[in-house]
């Protein structure tokens, strides 16, 4: 009877997901995300210069693209390409952390609201409405003005302003799952409500949240760039590189703003294409048989 078949454990990742259903644009997006991630991970290896150490102030300042600095140098003689590579680590990490945290908060709160209903539902969803009703950038600036702006604080604040979207998605899913037979079966088997919510309902409701998370990464990179552009973001993020560039754009140093801008646009578009592809696959209304 014992054979080497995985009886238990995580489901295998379907090859359809990797291939993104043959969607060319989504495959392009996935390749872009993969390439940027690898470059970010390997930044210390790939980057030709240190991103923080100023260059020779007499020779290296504001060099246009070409020669040893193929993306040019900034006002302190630092290599733009190297700064961009290390900046990718910061921007991606902040965005991924913020999106993961906001999804975790949203899934738990939305799950509780959808499953327990009643008073809990009202409390959670009206709070979500309040968060959504305040303009996000204004809220972010206000909160950062109160707190010490550290990378962890920025992640937390980004998450706390973005949880309503996944919360609404998961609540809607759970409302429709709650009356399905397998939930009644789980109740009949004597499982606790906590177990039914965490192990039975939420795994069945995650697909749209995954899509929203993928789309959210691009969105969050832009949001963080906006904060950095205003001078209250995370050091060395792409937004901050953009801000450095903006001050010197008018004196002709276009490369300082151009390359970070292209990087932000490229990553955001890549994530959005992947997200759109995932949505096409996972949308239950479009899902076909096994």
């Amino acid at each position: 009877m014992e054979r080497n078949v995985p009886v238990f454990g995580l489901p295998p990742v379907p090859s359809k997901l990797i291939a993104l259903g043959g969607n060319r644009l989504a495959q392009f997006g996935l390749a872009g995300v993969f390439a940027v991630s690898v470059l970010a991970l390997l930044a210390p290896v790939v980057a030709p210069f240190d991103p923080m150490t100023p260059g020779d102030l007499a020779r290296d300042v504001l060099l246009p693209p070409g020669g040893r600095h193929w993306m040019g140098t900034d006002q302190l003689g630092r290599d733009v390409w190297s700064r961009l590579l290390f900046g990718a680590r910061v921007s991606l990490l902040v965005a991924l952390a913020a999106v993961t945290l906001s999804a975790a908060i949203g899934v738990i709160l939305g799950g509780v609201a959808g499953y327990l209903g009643g008073w809990w539902d009202t409390l959670v969803m009206r709070t979500a409405d309040v968060v959504l009703a305040v303009p996000r950038l204004v809220l972010l600036i206000a909160v950062i003005a109160l707190l010490q702006p550290s990378p962890a604080a920025i992640v937390l604040i980004l998450a706390l302003t973005q949880w309503p979207a996944p919360a609404r998605l998961i609540r809607a899913e759970i409302l429709s799952l709650r009356d399905r037979d397998f939930v009644q079966a789980a109740e009949a088997l004597g499982f606790s409500r906590r177990r039914i919510l965490l192990r039975h309902l939420i795994p069945n409701a995650l697909a749209p949240v995954l899509v929203a998370m993928t789309l959210g990464v691009g969105h969050t990179i832009i949001l963080e760039a906006g904060l950095s552009f205003l001078g209250i973001g995370v050091p060395l993020s792409w937004g901050e590189l953009l801000r450095d560039g903006q001050q010197r754009f008018l004196v002709g140093a276009w490369w300082l703003a151009f390359f970070p801008g292209v990087a932000i646009a490229f990553v955001t578009i890549s994530f959005n294409l992947v997200g759109d592809g995932l949505r096409d696959i996972m949308d239950p209304r479009q899902r076909s048989g096994p």
Partner: protein
């Protein structure tokens, strides 16, 4: 020794436009270890509500009024029956529902779902959850239990799903298994196989089986006693062979006469109307449809003992 499940005077109400409406009225039943009792009746006769009440799974708004007395084994359950029964779910009382494809969790492997029950109720025993999972699937007559355990519900056929569902239900080592139309999603040969499986499990594991169905061939195949429901009341009860060969209550007679088995029907017996709400006021709930209706049917008939361990609720055909 007291029976495994003993229910006295169970009623269930649901909210209606004119206040609470009775969908189960004063039902008493008992099931012993190794015994199979069928609850039979048309849709809306209250048989599923009875089962849900016994699982503590009544839908929102439904209530159990008055003092129903429920005893499970030696445990007396009074007060809030729903809440008390909820604590027995899975471990003492388990449910097999109609449709394996929707009652199994779609995103979890069958093996994991069995293992979860073993884990929750601590019923894996010394051989461990993995081995016990495969043993249970094997006991259900599933070939290649390791492959079934590694499958998701949608990868199994309807018959396999239903067997897997029974395996999940039995993983908690229940004393009482409630099967709510477990064969309605299956075609005829699979239906017979599943009924035989349930009957065999009842015997070998000494568990009580409560089979809810509207299918008399299932009743005949898998149960020793049958209880016929009409409009939330028990109208007839007795040993399966006798009730099926010589039904007494007009409703049971109509149900049996409608069966296709045995060539020519022995008896032409039909109800006179479509199912509908029983006539208001006192009297027999079946009198609006009964071909044998008489003057005295305007008074409430009682469920009375008749010969051969049977009980019938009828003025005309009763004792």
């Amino acid at each position: 020794m007291s029976p495994l499940l003993d229910v006295q005077g169970l009623s269930v109400t649901v909210p209606g436009p004119d206040g609470p409406r009775f969908v189960v009225r004063d039902v008493s039943l008992s099931v012993d270890r190794g015994e199979a009792l069928a609850l039979v009746g048309e849709s809306g006769s209250g048989k599923t509500m009875t089962a849900l009440a016994l699982m503590g799974l009544l839908p929102y708004g439904a209530r159990i009024p008055g003092g129903a007395m429920v005893r499970v084994g030696d445990r007396e359950i009074g007060g809030d029956v729903s809440r008390e029964m909820a604590s027995l779910r899975g471990g003492t009382v388990a449910l097999v529902s109609q449709n394996g494809s929707s009652a199994l969790n779609p995103v979890r492997r069958v093996g994991d779902q069995i293992r979860e029950v073993l884990h929750t109720h601590g019923t894996a025993g010394i051989r461990g959850e993995r081995v016990r999972t495969l043993e249970l699937l094997d006991e259900m007559g599933l070939k290649e239990p390791d492959r079934v355990a590694a499958s998701y519900a949608h990868q199994l056929s309807g018959g396999m799903q239903q067997r897997a569902l029974v395996a999940v239900a039995l993983a908690g080592e229940p004393d009482l298994l409630i099967a709510d139309e477990p064969t309605s999603a299956l075609d005829a040969p699979l239906r017979v196989q599943l009924l035989d499986l349930l009957a065999r499990l009842g015997r070998t594991r000494r568990i009580g089986l409560l089979l809810i169905t509207h299918d008399f061939s299932a009743v005949e195949r898998a149960t020793s006693r049958v209880m016929v429901f009409h409009a939330g009341q028990t109208v007839e009860e007795g040993p399966t062979p006798r009730v099926l060969t010589a039904p007494r209550h007009p409703y049971t007679r109509a149900l049996v006469a409608a069966l296709p088995f045995g060539g020519r029907p022995k008896e032409r017996f039909a109800v006179t109307k479509e199912p509908h709400e029983p006539p208001p006021g006192p009297g027999c709930s079946f009198r609006g449809r009964c071909p044998l209706v008489e003057e005295r049917c305007g008074h409430d008939p009682r469920l009375e003992k008749v010969a051969g361990e049977r009980r019938v609720r009828c003025w005309v055909t009763g004792p």
